[in-house]
Amino acid sequence: MEGTVTADAARVTPAAPKKKVSDRAREERKLAWMLCAPAVITMIIVTGFPIAYALYLSLLKYDLRFPDEKEFVGLSNYGDVLGSSTWWQDVWNTALITIVSVSIELVLGMAIALVMHRAIFGRGPVRAAILIPYGIVTVVAAFGWRYAFDPASGFVQGLPLISDSAAPLTERGGSLIVIILTEVWKTTPFMALLLLAGLALVPDELHEAAKVDGASTVQRFFRITLPLMKPAILVALLFRTLDAFRLFDTVFIQTAGANGTETVSILDYNVLINRVNLGLGSAVAVLIFICVLLIAFIFVRVLGTSTAQQRGEA
């Protein structure tokens, strides 16, 4: 649903004609701004202010426990963060979890979307069943997976081929696998929904024409479905990558960052909430924000060129 809106918008907006603006159009634009104003003002208050305040705090040496030592230190907090191996290790951990889980989600999500798209009977129940994991609170899901893999309470150790005393959450590889599995299980339905919206954009006539020309199912999927779905896929990837990069709750519940699974959000939690070091913690938060902006920027660039190309071809 969201996917359709964004993809459509991306198609329509740049196509608006660059003619001389008429009086009516000007009036309409003014009205549009006035209608948007309440939302814009609310956004500035609830998101603009905190961001600006975090930027300000990140320039201070400010530890809640030592209020007397508060002073302006310029960019030195950023120097501390960027100069520490912990930050780069955590960026790498986060990137690893993000890339692996989003890739698996994309493949699985596509398969599920195709099933949902083609389902002839029981469409409603099928879609509802697939959506259940996404409807479960992340913290609850994280606990569920943690207990499943815990040697004291889990059923996983009882499965064939897995040692009875296996404790994956006590070592790095195992912890990363459990975290990624939880993420995949939890958010594949979201990916599938966005891709389903993309599938709906592919006209049936093209498939029929290709069939007449003798294209196989596989050829039609790679030559017709995928290229036409590219904007929807990129939007889905963008949403999921941004989400995955900010990963906090699953890791917090399952390892709390132990065994080398610390993500940038866990690091920020430790500095900001646990050590109450507002200056340094805000610097970490701002850096995470910049990373997220970068990811969004890259995706939007790719997305922009791809939609433009597509319009050219069509």
Binding site: K61, D63, L64, R65, F66, P67, D80, V81, S84, T86, W87, D150, P151, A152, S165, A167, L169, T170, E171, T255, A256, G257, A258, N259, L267, N270, V271, I273, N274, R275, V276, N277, G279, L280, V284
Partner: protein
Amino acid sequence: MPTDANQQRELLVRRLAAKDSSVDLVGADVIWTAEFAEAGWIKPWAGLNRARATGDKLAGPLKTVRYKGQVWAVPFTSNTQLLWYRKDLVPNPGDKATWDQIINEAIKKGKSIEVQGNQYEGLTVWVNALVASAGTPLVSQSGKVTASDAAIRNAARIVHRLATTKAAPAGLATNKEDEARLGFESGRSAYQVNYTFIYPSAAEVGGGFQKKIGWARYPRTLPNLPSRPPLGGINVAVGNYTNHADQAFQAALCLAQPNNQAIAAEKGGLPPTTAAVYNDPKVKKAFPFADELRTSIQAAAPRPVTPAYSDISLAIQKTFHPEDEVDPNDVVQKLQDRLDKAAEGKIF
């Protein structure tokens, strides 16, 4: 309030840092005193109140309310860990057993030893006790390492040995107090170091399980030095921004009086901070091990009393986890490096 001590702290810190005047009393974990005092979130005690707060208390808990020559709270309950063992599986280790001895005994019997090995406060408790039992506290008030390199290396050796031999229970690196209790109750372990709550819980296992449990003092690190068991508990402090300071001091004293300590012991299983309360028949009944408990609390080593406690604890946890990868050869360097960064307010 959340049940987890760390989350309680986060919530209180947010409210006190915002100068919330509705916080009259603070039920503070023993490790918070220095941090809250340094930040000016709690009031120092003076005069008669101070005398009444400290008069009849045990030495261990008293150390946890003192910071920079002042008293900041009244000790209410205390806590310590004992070495619990299965009388039907292993002989009484006595009060002089070392970690190495019980590890050997456990390996011989094919059983494990339950500890708190998750990367959380419980791991700091264990490491602190291991180091302090070798003679000197781990860290000074200013956050500098005070223990000898040898003591830290030896603690790392014991942690690593337990984690890599057959005496390691499944999930050692993720177990907290309750997982340790469950592991002990499941019969996989012959020993566990844990707080007193495991004793009433054992009664619910059935099959006469509680009768199979024996207790001894926390294991020694070195054969020739008595152990310094961990010290937990709750102190009651007065919030600095309260509008009812006088009443708050009175309420804190009232809460912590011997009668209420006896109730907390009987109903809550929380050991008292006043020596005389241990002789109360109700307390004796709740804690058949009352004498061992009192001796242990008297001998206990508090965790570092320093305003940057959370940083220091995090540094210790990160250095000693995961236990099977702790290397006695580089542990001192790693710990020192993290503590230096903590002291300078840097990322580690």
